[in-house]
Symmetry: C2
Subunit: 211 residues, 2 copies
Amino acid sequence: MSVSSAGLRARKRQDTHARLEEAAVALVLRDGLEQTTIQAICERADVSPRTFFNYFDCKDSAILGMQQPALLDEHAQEFLRDVVHADAITAVLALLQSMFDLRSARPQIREDRLELIRRHPQLLVNQLAKVTQAHGQVAQAVQVLLRRDPRFAGHSDADLADLAEFTLGSCVVALRIATREVVAAPDDLDSDHIQQRAHWLVQQLVKEIDA
Amino acid sequence: MSVSSAGLRARKRQDTHARLEEAAVALVLRDGLEQTTIQAICERADVSPRTFFNYFDCKDSAILGMQQPALLDEHAQEFLRDVVHADAITAVLALLQSMFDLRSARPQIREDRLELIRRHPQLLVNQLAKVTQAHGQVAQAVQVLLRRDPRFAGHSDADLADLAEFTLGSCVVALRIATREVVAAPDDLDSDHIQQRAHWLVQQLVKEIDA
DNA sequence: GCTATTGTTGCAGTCAGTGCAAGTTTGCAC
DNA sequence: GTGCAAACTTGCACTGACTGCAACAATAGC
């Protein structure tokens, strides 16, 4: 079962996907976020502008290599079904990192993406915001996770739903800030560092509340 | 100093502003969010489409009556400079509510807005997200607030900046969820209820972290 | 090879949002 | 009230994201 046995169609799809990602990253790095049009990306990737939207739902998704929203839902349910973590925060942070994994791409693309995040923090804000919006399916997966925790046994479904959404939202914010911070210091790029920093942020929040 | 003494120019501006808000709310309520175009809003408000952008930066802002982002910054600094609250979370929640005050409009508009939030939760997500993005000035105001708290005296500026942004982000999420929840139960519409609910969410988050 | 499925593309179109320049209205000082 | 400067409105032309549709091309599986 070598890679080439995956079928011609599937390989072409992967290839086009990769070319679009590469083109998006390279052009935005060279010309800037606003200056790069989808049309330009398509020319470089040698596909029709219309085809672009068969692979990504918007420009930002191509730049950061995010999957389509619908796929995020499935991924979330699958991920949280099995994994057992120390606490819900850790589990959700891990989920988010697995959705939006800066390590997954080829080294060159990865380095370029980090630079793009440095130059355009807005990218991270916009893309991570999508996780929150994604039909609430992700939040629902978190709710299932919380229900397994005996400390939340007494809560109503409505309370648990709100709390799940809030947990997800807060983790998104923490991960965004932590990523930006850690990315700014190139030597420290490490998913564990990002996670630690995000976790630290949540812990500090505790201190603000009961004064 | 009656209202009419405010100058003709200022009064006309207020009037146009109000007409645009009314038109946006009425049309979205009647036709739906996607179906309502800026052009239609302008026709109803009897102004040119080009003029719309002298008052709002996008469609959603008109629908919910949000001020321009630049004004939000000033407001935040002013608000947090004087007010002293029990804790930072409470202060930030109060700030956000003052920025985005569902009570401020005329009764009819207000009721319609609540219905629109019920029908299109996305409105709240998108608009409150802007607060986070607004040039970081709002986050900076929160940082000043945190620095006044002796419990955070030992932190570096970088830590404090991150923590301020995280605090702001979490409060935005909490307020969004709490607003949607409270708005869904029409009898309970009360800013205090929203604030209590948001505060409760943050408190619950604490319980998730140290398992 | 034949056929159903899947992917690509061009086309035509809607709509948000921007810059510019010309025209109009208001504020204000004299 | 005259005249000038500032603020506001408007039309125009434009860019660019994004969508639906229908024709065409390529692949998979038999």
